[in-house]
């Protein structure tokens, strides 16, 4: 079994919320070392060499993202994205609650690496407990001298602000998050300019996921080669995979990228007795399903993209043969329709209409012509919006429509079809 404990090390064994415990286990050593021995350029190079890619969903190489920052004197910001709301994802929830100092150390390292003097963490509004735990971690770290003015006598000032959202999935999109952080409606911005050029308050900004920043700590500790030697050629290192649905032991499991999906299923205890697999959603609500015959796919960015789906945030939802895919499709479409910010017409109207049509199917009142309409409308939403939310509607719907057409056909209202 390839389960490892890198970020998850010590979770469930020690009270990592307490800074003394965290320090006993080697916490904040890397931060001290970075300030004492490494230049900002060294941190960036290390991050680049490790091949670390964004763990929030898009999988963009982190070092490259940092390198887009312009070389000017404007203040720069690091924003840690903890607006975790992708259906099926629950890794950041665990990280900030169980090991907040690791996340914080990663944030401080990231901020130092990009030359930022003010780092923010945007925590989803529902994580009230997580917000309190993380705020306490920040207080402890400030008292210990890891946050504040003139860190370790180097003259480097670094401030951290913990910011809480108020219930909006769209704020996980980085420009929507920045708008929300600026006290505005969480509506995505038109890109370019990308946040690296004009982000928070119009200044150069890097937005990184919680897990991405947390990985900086072990990478600094064990070197970029250690991280880069794991995984596949282009998907390097480890990933926390959130496995849920119809499995016997749902939970967060940290594995090397490239682990076959079949093994992930085994790690999570397999299916319940007497059930057979129907579909797996490998990368959160926005990803197309994979099926029984694709179980040997390696779980990495490229292999899943080649199979027409994606790794996304690493949320694996397993569905067995008891699943009603009409209801599942309705559920996810309703989610996107509800969470659409409403700026772009295809997403706002399209999502709403798909929800309406699928609601008919759920009640067994679909029309024959609706099936084609579902395909058509979902395809027409895709690619026409400011952000990827609208594009997220089609993959799951299209994949289950194709795989389980009989479930939809069975809900067509036969009486309206002339004999």
């Amino acid at each position: 079994m390839p389960v490892v404990k890198v970020l998850t090390e010590g979770i469930g064994e020690a009270n990592l919320r307490d800074i003394a415990t965290y320090e006993e286990r080697g916490g904040y050593v890397q931060l001290r070392r970075a300030f004492a021995e490494m230049s900002q350029r060294d941190v960036l190079d290390l991050c680049d060499a490790s091949g670390l890619r964004g763990r929030g969903g898009a999988g963009f190489p982190t070092g490259r993202k940092w390198s887009f920052l312009p070389g000017n004197d404007k203040p720069r910001y690091l924003v840690c994205n903890c607006d975790e709301a992708e259906p099926g994802t629950f890794k950041d929830h665990m990280l900030i609650e169980e090991t907040p100092h690791l996340v914080l150390e990663g944030m401080l390292l990231g901020a130092y690496g990009i030359g930022s003097h003010h780092a923010f963490i945007y925590i989803r509004g529902e994580f009230k407990r997580g917000y309190e735990i993380f705020s306490e971690a920040v207080r402890q770290a400030r008292a210990a001298g890891y946050i504040g003015k003139n860190l370790f006598g180097t003259g480097y000032d670094l401030e951290v602000t913990v910011h809480r959202g108020a219930g909006a999935y769209i704020c996980g999109e980085e420009t929507a998050l920045l708008n929300s952080l600026e006290g505005k409606r969480g509506e995505p911005r038109l890109k370019p300019p990308f946040p690296a050029v004009a982000g928070l308050y119009g200044m150069p900004t890097v937005v990184n996921n919680v897990e991405t920043l947390a990985y900086l700590v072990p990478i600094l500790k064990r070197g970029s080669q250690w991280f880069a030697s794991v995984g596949t050629e282009r998907s390097k290192g480890y990933k926390i995979v959130s496995i849920s649905g119809h499995v016997r032991k749902p939970g967060n499991y940290e594995v090397p990228l490239g682990t076959p999906v079949r093994e992930l299923l085994e790690i999570a205890g397999g299916l319940r007795p007497g059930r057979t697999l129907a579909a797996i959603q490998p990368g959160g609500g926005s990803s197309a399903c994979i099926f029984e015959e694709q179980l040997d796919l390696p779980y990495d960015y490229e292999s899943l993209a080649k199979a027409g789906t994606m790794l996304g945030s690493g949320a694996v939802v397993v569905m067995d043969d008891t699943t009603d895919f009409v209801k599942a499709a309705y559920n996810l479409v309703r989610f996107y329709a509800h969470e659409s910010c409403g700026q772009c017409t295809p997403c706002r109207e399209g999502g709403h209409w798909l929800e309406t049509v699928l609601e008919r199917f759920v009640h067994g009142r679909g029309l024959q012509s609706d099936i084609e309409m579902l395909h058509k409308v979902s395809a027409e939403i895709t690619g026409l919006n400011l952000c990827p939310l609208g594009d997220s509607i089609e993959p799951f719907l299209a994949s289950v429509l194709k795989r389980f057409p009989e479930q939809f056909e069975a809900r067509v209202l036969k009486e309206t079809v002339p004999a």
């Binding site: 203040p75 952080l181 006290g183 749902p250 969470e339 309406t356």
Partner: protein, 254 residues
């Protein structure tokens, strides 16, 4: 601005100043300040929005527009216990529908409603990021995992008896049946026609909100004569007949 609110504002002002000082731009404090007032008042009152606007040098309209974007801000009073059940996919395939039906039955209210005694508000919310402990819910934003009908009954009894672990929310005003603004239009005017936009109700597909046409289709099937010659024909013949559009200028030129 009421007398009570003025006192609250004076009490919270030092904390507000601290919050605003955390940001380079004061407007960033909009969400944290709103959270602060909601925690004390149980909802975001008009007074609170006006106070936030004043502190941040914004128009109250800007504050209300922003606040209205976020589902965790209640712009009308809610119950002392806000029960938010996850309706995400992982919870749904692990029995959330039965849990929701049980809760609705026990509370006697539906989605986005508050009980008459003002104790409970009920909402079905999107994925709460606790799929490994499905099905789950939040009570005043504290998680409750692995829900069962028996667990729900015990929880409600503890809340009614005042022994529940999570503290009730502040309640400074008596809540109405719902806190959503869309439905207020109907409550105050009562003029919207059946099936009008915004009247849909997920728990009552046969009520006013026949958004997807389920009830209409049922009526057609049950009572053919009523609609013969019009709707039924239209439904049966997917190809609509549209008038031909003639480009008169082009015709004339030819």
């Amino acid at each position: 601005m009421s007398e009570g609110f003025r006192a609250l504002l004076e009490e919270l002002r030092p904390r507000c100043v601290e919050i605003v000082a955390q940001y380079e731009d004061s407007r960033s404090a909009l969400l944290p300040l709103t959270h602060l007032f909601q925690e004390r008042q149980g909802f975001v009152s008009r007074d609170a929005m006006r106070a936030v606007a004043e502190m941040l040098a914004l128009s109250p309209a800007v504050v209300e527009s922003t606040v209205s974007f976020y589902t965790l801000f209640f712009r009308r009073p809610v119950g002392k216990y806000v029960l938010q059940v996850c309706r995400g996919l992982a919870c749904t395939i692990n029995g959330a529908e039965e849990i929701m039906a049980h809760l609705r039955e026990r509370l006697g209210i539906g989605h986005l409603e508050t009980t008459a005694d003002g104790l409970f508000s009920y909402e079905e919310v999107e994925c709460l990021a606790a799929c490994d402990r499905a099905s789950c819910m939040q009570v005043n934003l504290e998680f409750v995992y692995h829900l069962t009908p028996q667990g729900i009954d015990d929880m409600l009894a503890a809340m009614r008896g005042g022994t529940y672990a999570t503290a009730p929310m502040a309640q400074t005003q008596v809540p109405a049946r719902t806190w959503t603004v869309v439905q207020d239009a109907q409550v105050s005017h009562g003029t919207k026609s059946a099936g009008a936009q915004g009247q849909s109700h997920p728990n009552n597909a046969s009520g006013l909100g026949d958004r997807s046409g389920v009830v209409m289709l049922d009526r057609i099937v049950a009572n053919e004569g009523l609609f013969r010659g019009r709707t039924l024909e239209r439904l049966a013949n997917a190809e609509p007949t549209l008038p031909k559009i003639v480009d008169e200028e082009a015709e004339a030129a030819r």
